[in-house]
């Protein structure tokens, strides 16, 4: 996906593209949940449903050769940066055709060709990697930028503060994107996060923005501006995107009543859904009819079905591969 060269207003074409990509993520995740429930997937996974506007808004403002680092809740980032559902499903199932030959699984998908340096199962663990990629871009005189996705839970990790300091000192082209979905696993972030989130990056001299993560157009516009700054050599920034995780911390986290109410969940689904919000806007602006939006959804659904069939049919790696790729 490419961003418009200048200006941050979202036109019909880009909005429709983003609608399609968000729909693809939603359907992918619903299918991933189904794979878990039907015991076809080894282990478990962390669903991105509800947060699609953040990944798609951010990645739509990036070039293919820009880098991202992702999290344990990373399928949305991966798809938004251009990955194919089939090879992703194959990775979730531990198949050789997966992005990591089945060695990474849901929490470690990397797609180097599309600039995805990998999901990371250590909370905040990729902050250094993204900052290093930005350092590399600057040192090599390339105009690439690096985006570090992390949840608000990573605000508890010291590494983030170490690298924001260096990014600012050396004016590195990195954007730290904090997806605040309100919950550090099973604990509301306000119980474990003192002070103001944006005061943290500001203390290091980073440019900051706060955005409604359910409004993909707003996420895109804010990111496009920060990317332009970074490419121009103006240094690092921090984007706080407020969003919500519809499902549990992971697919097995079904009884959530001890940390949040069903009413709260329903409110976000009914009133703050990023797909519904963009769909309404597209119709209001007469960029698309309801029929056209349903067609986009059908196309995404068939892409998911094809990808799933590919992954289910794909063979497991031969056990002899276990010792391959430890060293180059």
């Amino acid at each position: 996906m490419t961003a418009t060269a200048s200006g941050t207003a979202v036109g019909a074409e880009l909005a429709l593209e983003m609608y399609g990509r968000m729909t693809l993520i939603r359907l992918f995740e619903e299918q991933a949940n189904e794979l878990y429930r039907s015991a076809k997937m080894p282990g478990l996974t962390h669903l991105y449903i509800g947060e699609e506007g953040v990944a798609v808004g951010v990645c739509s403002a990036l070039r293919r050769d820009d880098w991202i680092t992702s999290t344990h809740r990373g399928h949305g980032h991966c798809l938004a940066k251009g990955a194919e559902p089939g090879r992703m499903f194959a990775e979730l199932l531990g198949k050789e055709a997966g992005y990591c030959r089945g060695k990474g699984g849901s929490m470690h998908i990397a797609d180097h060709e599309n600039g995805n340096l990998g999901a990371n199962a250590i909370v905040g663990g990729s902050a250094g990697i993204a900052t290093g990629a930005a350092f590399s871009a600057k040192r090599r005189g390339a105009d690439q930028v690096a985006v570090c996705f992390f949840g608000e839970g990573a605000l508890g990790q010291g590494l983030l503060y170490e690298v924001m300091n260096m990014a600012s000192l050396w004016s590195l082209p990195v954007i730290y994107v904090c997806e605040n979905n309100l919950y550090n696993e099973y604990t509301h972030y306000l119980e474990v996060t003192a002070g103001d989130i944006l005061a943290r990056p500001r203390a290091f001299g980073l440019e900051t923005r706060e955005v409604d993560g359910q409004d993909v157009r707003a996420v895109y516009a804010a990111t496009a501006e920060l990317v332009e700054r970074a490419r121009a050599g103006a240094g690092p920034s921090f984007l706080l995107a407020n969003t919500y995780r519809y499902h549990g911390h992971h697919v097995g986290d079904v009884d959530r009543s001890y940390y949040r109410t069903k009413e709260e969940e329903q409110l976000w689904r009914d009133e703050r859904d990023p797909l519904a919000l963009l769909g309404s806007w597209l119709e209001e602006q007469r960029h698309a009819t309801g029929e056209e939006l349903r067609r986009i959804e059908e196309e995404a659904r068939s892409e998911i079905e094809r990808g799933l069939a590919f992954a289910l049919d794909a063979p497991f790696p031969d056990a002899s591969q276990v010792t391959e790729d430890v060293y180059v």
Partner: protein, 334 residues
């Protein structure tokens, strides 16, 4: 040594000068190489190992960092994944505790977890070794911690010549390499071939040939073993001192062959004894040379205590030439 010049000019360099020469040559050879660490530029590190490099290559390639060990290691991992060859300087090996997630969970696993698509050509230089009167948090030898993590290579040079050739190999390696220098070695002098050469990983070096007992020694313990071998020679015991030089990859055949030849083996290593590098080296020899051994393999290592400050206490924690010689006598004379 590989690719050594045929008409060799030999220089007398300290260990620190040899490290400096390797970095200088690699910085000059490859623009992707850069050094990142605390006080690495004008200060040239507290050990002065990097003296003169920032003057020659500039602050863009020899960067003073904040005191953020995890951060600089993480930045190094990301830079390595995207086309650079960082040499990250972690002043004291004790600070490996601070970088462990970035080293063990990120650098070591990235190539494997990505199914072989991403590489991390990172060199992390750090130090080891007691008896500098630096107490418990600046004296540890933690090489076993990193050698336990698949995906990392671990280098323990013992001479100036090895240090130079092995460091050049480390920087050119496409894997993450932990390169550990003994602080007590920095001032030690040795002969170093002038000019370009590298030393392959996984090739043990016989530092002194012998017939009666094999002493496998790492890092500064090689000097201890050689001093013991001198003592033993006067008593008519011929000790072979062999240095694995790299713990990962390990030259299993080299160690086993030596032990089979002499029939007796002692391992001397400055890490703690319990679950340490000496245990792994002894096990490798016991498994591979069992039927050729006349006696059990012996281990000499740092005592399993935090390194104390008081000199007589600290000196009691590490193997000495006398201890190595005494152990060899016990093995040879039964």
């Amino acid at each position: 040594m590989s690719s050594a010049p045929s008409a060799q000019v030999v220089l007398e360099l300290t260990f620190a000068q040899a490290i400096n020469a390797a970095l200088k040559e690699e910085l000059a050879r490859d623009p992707a190489v850069f050094i990142l660490g605390e006080d690495v530029a004008e200060a040239g590190t507290p050990f002065k190992v990097l003296a003169g490099l920032v003057e020659e290559f500039g602050p863009e390639r020899v960067l003073d960092s904040p005191i953020s060990e995890a951060g600089i290691t993480g930045l190094g991992v990301g830079a390595a994944m995207t086309g650079l060859r960082p040499v990250v300087d972690i002043m004291f090996g004790d600070f490996l505790t601070l970088v462990m997630d970035q080293l063990a969970n990120q650098a070591a696993k990235t190539h494997y977890m990505s199914g072989g698509k991403l590489n991390v050509p990172l060199t992390l230089r750090t130090t080891m070794g007691a008896t500098r009167r630096s107490a418990a948090q600046h004296s540890q030898s933690l090489h076993a911690w990193v050698a336990h993590v698949p995906g990392l290579k671990v280098v323990l040079p013992s001479t100036p010549a090895d240090a130079k050739g092995l460091l050049k190999t480390a920087i050119r390696d496409d894997n993450p390499v932990v390169f550990i220098e003994d602080k007590m070695d920095y001032a030690v002098k040795g002969e170093v071939p002038d000019g370009e050469y590298t030393i392959p990983f996984g090739v043990a070096d016989v530092k002194r040939p012998g017939e009666d007992v094999t002493v496998v020694a790492t890092s500064s313990m090689v000097r201890v073993a050689l001093a013991a071998a001198e003592q033993l020679e006067a008593e008519g015991i011929s000790a072979e001192v062999i240095d694995p030089r790299t713990l990962v990859p390990l030259d299993v055949n080299g160690l086993v062959s030596s032990a089979q030849k002499t029939g007796r083996a002692i391992v001397v290593d400055e890490g703690h004894r319990g679950y340490g590098a000496s245990a792994e080296l002894a096990a490798v020899i016991a498994e591979g040379a069992f039927w050729g051994l006349d006696a059990p393999v012996r281990r000499l290592a740092a005592l399993d205590v935090p390194i104390p400050f008081s000199p007589p206490l600290e000196d009691a924690t590490v193997p000495t030439p006398d201890l190595v010689a005494q152990t060899a006598r016990e093995l040879v004379r039964g």
